[in-house]
């Protein structure tokens, strides 16, 4: 995955195929989340306000800005020139989401809808979402490493294409499984 340069100064470098795969997956994630929120903006507005983190006045405007920012980040990740600032902004946004979820979990509001833009809009916030965001930030951090200069060939297209579909499907499966377990674990009844 990483190229390890021989010599005294060891330098971690990212293979361009892996870099492209990560960037594509994260761009898809942000585009999906943003478009999902834009499709039902009133619902997202209500969820956003329910987080109770910002002054009352700023909430409606920011509720529109969040999905727009996500779509912008998706585009920014795909363009080479804007990639680095987009990655940094995406990392900050994910950490912001994690902080918002963490604060509300500490307030004991585990019945709050996540508003993550997944397939289940009523998914409630949970501690695993913090770890998910930390993992996504760590993966995004890899993109900031210098990319090795290896020329991409046709087999890399297979790797990137199939890898993106695979990551998407794994995300879909995890999303469903965690949603089901959250629904049934809320009940104490046997």
């Amino acid at each position: 995955m990483m190229v390890y340069d021989a010599g005294r100064m060891t330098k971690l470098m990212l293979d361009p195929a892996i870099g492209t795969l990560i960037v594509l997956c994260l761009a898809l994630l942000f585009a999906g989340a943003g478009s999902h929120k834009l499709r039902d903006l009133p619902q997202f507005s209500a969820i956003f306000a329910a987080y109770e983190l910002l002054p009352q006045l700023a909430r409606p405007q920011l509720a529109v800005l969040v999905p727009l920012l996500e779509c912008l980040l998706a585009c920014g990740l795909l363009v080479r020139r804007t990639r680095t600032p987009a990655v940094v902004a995406a990392m900050l946004l994910l950490l912001g989401y994690a902080a918002a979820i963490g604060i509300n979990l500490r307030r004991g509001r585990s019945d709050l809808a996540c508003g993550c833009g997944g397939f289940d809009a009523r998914r409630v916030i949970a501690p695993w979402m913090l770890w998910r965001n930390v993992l996504l930030v760590a993966v995004l951090g890899l993109v900031l490493l210098p990319w090795s200069a290896r020329a991409l060939e046709w087999l890399d297209a297979v790797t990137v294409g199939c890898g993106t579909v695979t990551c998407g499907l794994v995300y879909l499966c995890l999303d469903r499984l965690l949603g089901q377990s959250a629904r049934s674990s809320a009940l104490r009844i046997s």
Binding site: T159, L169, R176, L187, R188, S190
Partner: protein, 197 residues
């Protein structure tokens, strides 16, 4: 195309195929989850709505003492009002569940048995089934105020005297569904699942 490239492509195809299978399995798991979800107590459309204050009814217990049912309680306990009859076989099968629930939930709940009819018959019923630990009231107006048409019927009132859940209970699962409905703040488990379907 080198052997490595061929094996790479074949492996990708296998991975993608397997993932489609996993996705289908997770979907199937969701269907199974819905099928085996706990069954809530049967809600009848008539009668008091959940969230309304329960009617305060003066009833007499088996010793003839007057007991007030439905009023706000000072001890902070909720009340499970269970309408039973000595001639109802399902009620009898539920008694063991009631005894264990009384012990398990005594920190927040008092179970009150309610019925109407001849006092001597009920006294015999209480003695033969070991129900002396339960408050047992006899009152026809109490049953009418909850519009009880079938037995065993349960109504869960919180400490303020507000109806939190109600329904026909035939099993432990039904009985516990009332406790869960109160804990989750929903009228019934059916409503809970419908909201999350």
């Amino acid at each position: 195309m080198t052997a490595l490239a061929v094996s790479n492509i074949v492996l990708w195809l296998v991975v993608l195929g397997l993932l489609v299978v996993v996705l289908a399995l997770t979907r199937q798991l969701g269907v199974l989850h819905e099928r085996i979800a706990p069954v809530g107590a049967l809600m009848l459309n008539r009668g008091l709505a959940v969230g309304e204050p329960a009617p305060v009814v003066e009833a007499a217990d088996l010793q003839g003492r007057s007991v007030q049912i439905g009023a706000a309680r000072t001890d902070g306990l909720s009340t499970l009002l269970l309408f039973v009859s000595p001639t109802c076989p399902v009620c009898e099968s539920l008694l063991a569940v009631l005894k264990s629930s009384r012990r398990a939930e005594q920190s927040w709940l008092q179970i009150v048995l309610a019925s109407d009819g001849d006092r001597a018959t009920h006294q015999q019923f209480v003695r033969s089934h070991g129900l002396t630990d339960f408050p047992y009231v006899l009152s026809a107006p109490l049953g009418m105020s909850y519009q009880v048409s079938r037995l065993p019927f349960a109504a869960l009132l919180d400490e303020t005297g507000t109806l939190r859940a109600r329904g026909l209970v035939n099993s432990r699962e039904h009985l516990e569904s009332l406790f869960e409905a109160k804990r989750l703040g929903v009228a019934s488990l059916q409503e809970y699942f419908a909201a999350r379907a």
